[in-house]
Symmetry: C2
Subunit: 109 residues, 2 copies
């Protein structure tokens, strides 16, 4: 994964509203949630949340899917995986000994 798309993902998740929304979508995989449900959960205005959602979509973290006049949003787990691999490479590639306990702790989850 290139650093630019990782950067976009990090920036997208670096806001409470967007992080909450993404985590909520992960918990609702693979059904997803409509934009309206996400708006309600956020407690923000529809237009305000729409711009946040656009950031997540642009970063590739959320995959919108048209269903009727609703817009179903789904978390892109692969994007999350790619980000984690990108982060892991930083410490594992250069310093494998630093990565060992990290992976060990991940396996048990």
């Amino acid at each position: 994964m290139e650093t630019d798309s990782s950067l976009a993902i990090l920036a997208a998740l670096g806001h409470p509203t967007r992080l909450d929304a993404f985590r909520l979508l992960v918990r609702h995989e693979p059904d997803g949630l409509s934009t309206g449900q996400l708006v309600e959960a956020s407690g923000l205005t529809q237009s305000t949340f729409s711009t946040h959602l656009a950031v997540l979509v642009k970063a590739g973290l959320v995959l919108p899917e048209k269903r009727g006049r609703q817009q179903i949003q789904r978390a892109n787990i692969k994007a999350l995986k790619d980000l984690m691999l990108f982060l892991a490479k930083d410490c594992c590639q250069g310093r494998p000994e630093l990565c060992e306990p990290l992976v060990a702790e991940l396996i048990c989850c």
Copy 2:
């Protein structure tokens, strides 16, 4: 790890200057780099970079250490690990089947 500190880490890494600096520090573990070396690598002004560095330190991603009149900066690998565990929990806790390929790919690195 609480979501607030994860949020701070994500926001801190969501800027090219700070992401670059952090990755550079990871590659220089465990020796670290002086602030001046980081400034030079960033190509920014000393004062500008100093504010970026403060964000990284506040998020706990970088651990400063006084040495003479220099300030040695070191990457906090544990903070990175905690972030990855936080992200992994989102998809693993709710949906273990989503996490399996993620962990599998991490192990090989």
